[in-house]
């Protein structure tokens, strides 16, 4: 029998606010344990939460970017369970009335566009973390670090519309790109800023009844998500083929084996006893707030890509690469704004600029060559002042020295020679020194042409205008 996978994803996005969701503590990652805490995020007796407006702003942004309806009234709820790193014994989250609902994202897999529904986006606080063994000052015990407690999260829940691991990864990449574009998440998956729970089930092809699903928790790389889902699909199919039954349970992905394993079964599932948090009044969002936020959104990757294709005439591939990150697209557009030709700027940003950044291990935001400088360089090429090849040398110099390209060209005497007299003189000398090859060319061996071009360029130290060289050389060789 053939099987069909049904996949839904729950993505946790850690928001890039300076302070926590219900208190004023810093959210900086990696500080010494419990140094970023106050009575509120420690859950001391008597404390009360106060909602950080920035978190709401970020949630609205995420909702608008994923085509959700923003609820005019949403409610915070308490999710009650006991865990040592959960200071209040409950997590403040949203339940029945989340801030965003009924959205969607379009993904593309193998040239096919597919729409994935987004059920809801809700705001919640993160828990702290436990540090086991060798805790400084505690010896071999377990320590509770509450620096992360109360950091703001969005949980983005998809509809079970995804049918393969590749679709899942495409959806996740797209979501990742959007939240980073929006400036609401740093996207750092290793630090857990963007992590995913995958709900996977299988059913016979053609069936309309979903199989029993499992939930694989906290997978934090695109590669692992693909592996985990593929493994889980395979495992469930094998199990069913062997006459077994999939049990509803929570599973963990082990990156070392590429497999998932059971974490806890449904019989241990929690009853979270959700109810509206009486310490927080319902959140009322005005239409004006939503519309102001909509106006402040950056152009999102999809829109940008199609604009690059239609208005700038770039290829699908170029548009895709240039919009991969907001910083890359902005760098590119800053070049255009400075007067760079679109195609030339695209080639350079994707070529030399990216190469140099990769070699230096730098992000485009840290690129030492400013868009205006790169544009000036491109203009030198356009004007014929330097050749494309020379331009690469100039670029390397710009990377090192913070000098304007004109200055470098001037200083190093790199101005392209287009003066026909000077070039003609070089050609004449070369031809005189290589009469044998001249004869070969005239005898029909046109391959020798390349030899002459090389000689002329070398003699001019690369400064001769290749187009002029080609034209004159052809004329003279043909006699």
């Amino acid at each position: 029998m053939n099987y069909q996978a049904v996949i839904g994803l729950e993505v946790h996005v850690q928001l890039k606010t300076d302070t926590k969701i219900f208190c004023g503590c810093s959210t900086t990652f990696g500080a010494s344990p419990n140094s970023q805490t106050c009575p509120v995020c420690l859950g001391m007796p008597g404390v009360l939460p106060v909602l950080n407006k920035k978190v709401v702003e970020f949630a609205i942004r995420a909702g608008l970017a994923t085509n959700c309806r923003i609820a005019p009234r949403s409610v915070f709820a308490r999710k009650n369970y006991f865990y040592p790193d959960l200071p209040k014994g409950y997590q403040i989250s949203q339940y029945e009335l989340p801030i965003c609902q009924n959205g969607h994202l379009d993904i593309e897999v193998d040239g096919q566009v597919k729409r994935i529904g987004i059920t809801r986006i809700h705001m919640e606080e993160d828990a702290g973390k436990l540090v086991h063994a060798d805790v400084p000052g505690l010896g071999s015990g377990s320590g509770v670090d509450l620096n992360r407690a109360c950091t703001p999260l969005l949980e983005i829940v998809s509809e079970p519309d995804i049918r393969s691991a590749d679709e899942a990864v495409a959806y996740l990449r797209k979501l990742h790109q959007i939240v980073v574009y929006l400036g609401i998440c740093d996207g750092n998956m290793e630090e857990g800023s963007f992590r995913c729970d995958a709900n996977v089930s299988v059913m016979p092809v053609g069936s309309t009844t979903f199989g029993t699903r499992t939930e694989t928790k906290n997978v934090n790389s695109f590669r692992f998500v693909k592996q985990a889902i593929e493994h889980e699909i395979e495992r469930q199919i094998e199990l069913i083929e062997e006459g077994g039954k999939v049990v509803q349970e929570t599973r963990l992905f082990d990156p070392n084996t590429g497999e998932t394993r059971s974490m806890r079964g449904k019989e241990e599932a929690h009853d979270y006893r959700y109810f509206p948090d009486p310490d927080l009044v319902p959140l009322v969002i005005s239409n004006d707030w939503v519309e102001d936020t909509r106006l402040s959104l950056p152009e999102l990757p999809d829109a940008r890509r199609s604009r690059y294709r239609s208005e700038l005439g770039l290829s699908d591939y170029d548009a895709e690469v240039l919009t991969a990150t907001r910083e890359m697209a902005e760098y590119f557009e800053n070049c255009l704004a400075a007067g760079a030709p679109a195609k030339g700027a695209a080639n350079w940003v994707m070529g030399e600029v990216t190469r140099a950044l990769n070699e230096a291990g730098k992000d485009i935001a840290e690129c030492p060559v400013a868009p205006a400088r790169l544009t000036a360089l491109l203009q030198l090429i356009e004007k014929g002042t330097i050749s494309g090849k020379i331009a690469k040398t100039v670029f390397d110099e710009m990377w090192q020295s913070d000098k304007a390209p004109e200055a470098i060209v001037e200083e190093k005497g790199l101005v392209q020679v287009s003066d026909t007299g000077a070039i003609e003189k070089i050609i004449d000398e070369i031809m005189a020194a290589n009469m044998g090859q001249v004869e070969e060319f005239r005898g029909g061996k046109e391959k020798v042409f390349g030899f002459f071009v090389g000689q002329v360029m070398r003699a001019s130290k690369g400064k001769a205008n290749p187009a002029v060289v080609n034209e004159l050389l052809m004329k003279k060789l043909k006699g």
């Binding site: 009575p39 420690l42 859950g43 001391m44 007796p45 008597g46 404390v47 009360l48 939460p49 106060v50 909602l51 308490r78 009650n80 006991f82 040592p84 200071p87 209040k88 014994g89 409950y90 509770v144 009853d271 006893r273 959700y274 109810f275 009486p278 310490d279 927080l280 009044v281």
Partner: protein
Amino acid sequence: MELFELTLHELHDKLAKREVSSVEATRALLARIEATDSRVNAYITVTPDEALAAAEAADRRIAAGGLTPLTGVPVALKDIFVTRGIRTTCGSKILGNFIPPYDGTVVAKLREAGAVIVGKLNQDEFAMGSSGESSAFGATKNPWNLACIPGGSSSGSAAAIAARSATATLGTDTGGSIRQPASHCGCVGLRPTYGRVSRYGVIAYASSLDQVGPVTRDVTDCALMLGAVAGHDPLDSTSIDLPVPDYAAALTGQVKGLRLGLPKEYYLEGLDPDVKRALDAAIETYRGLGAEFVEVSLPHTDYAVATYYLIATAEASSNLARYDGVRFGHRAAGAANLIDMFRRSRAEGFGAEVKRRIMIGTYALSSGYYDAYYLKAQKVRTLIMQDFMKAFEQVDALLTPVAPTPAFKIGEKVDDPLQMYLSDIFTIPVNLAGTCAISVPAGMSAAGLPIGLQLIGRPFGEETILRAAHAFEQATEWHRHTAQL
């Protein structure tokens, strides 16, 4: 007259005239605590060193001309208020060793005003109780009759006022916990409108019902205390951003033309005869002062107690989850594993009433029962609120009993929680409606125990009920009666 016998405003006048110093008044209070508290048990913690230091600071401030109504006045706080550096137990063993690292908003306001905190008052554990018997630090006694309960849960607040071992106190009122003990101890107790006073730093019992309020010797003191602690707090999202009126200025003595409602559901056959007599007399007094009476109906009153015990316990089951032995408070020794540690710490740390309510609340919120209990209770709560709003279309305030009986004997209802819960039948609807109410002394029972009357006001109608209570106080002598200790 001894210094400890003075009301807040009398002491304030003497401090203003420099007839006494705060240090003298504080010493007098500390001596009074020493003399009475072994019998009354109103205090869990007395802080003489901090109090005398604060009194000295207050005297310097008074000398410099910085006197406010509370400067230099010895006050005591229910042990539910978080106090930086001072043990805060909430009447529970589970917090028996808890020293908070911060002051709540109300405490900070009192300190800023220059009040002298002399100690932390006994209470029913986590404010759960109507008799003061469920404290892990022993039952509080009623100063009028040490064999009787003082009422709860702000038992120590009312008992200390009656015993003259605090000049003014603060309590909290979740289902009547200020008004009922105030009534039983012959004090004035005010539950303000929900959102009027910040709850930041008040250990939560039931967040949507809890409210901070004063327990004092007379209505003027009550107005002064409320004025000192009321107001919006950016640390409490549920506190309301409205200006704080000058409550003392509202005490004009005038009730002529005031329309008072008598809810027919509160005047049932079988109301204790002493209570009934006191109420009838009070109505006559008000008529004499020119107030008008209107019979009104609060048709959902019957459901109030059940509704309260679902909502309050549901919230409590969640609010008390943080007491798990992990980070502060009592931790059981020798647990086998994590879950065992949680279980045993909570089993050892909480008393019977708290456990009972946590279990009721957990049940009410659990899946499959939520709709039938918690959600239904919320709907009934809305109906009860609407009852009040309709009544307030006809009247300025309601006049009702506070408690169905005068104070009962210690131990009398301990084994009958349902009977105990009915002690709050006349106070609970106010908490569900979120509005304000005051209890003022209005009589004495045949057995010599105080009886209070309750005036219920509109939301943020504190000035009206304070004015009405003050007029009654001026016209009667009940607040001048003093417990003999």
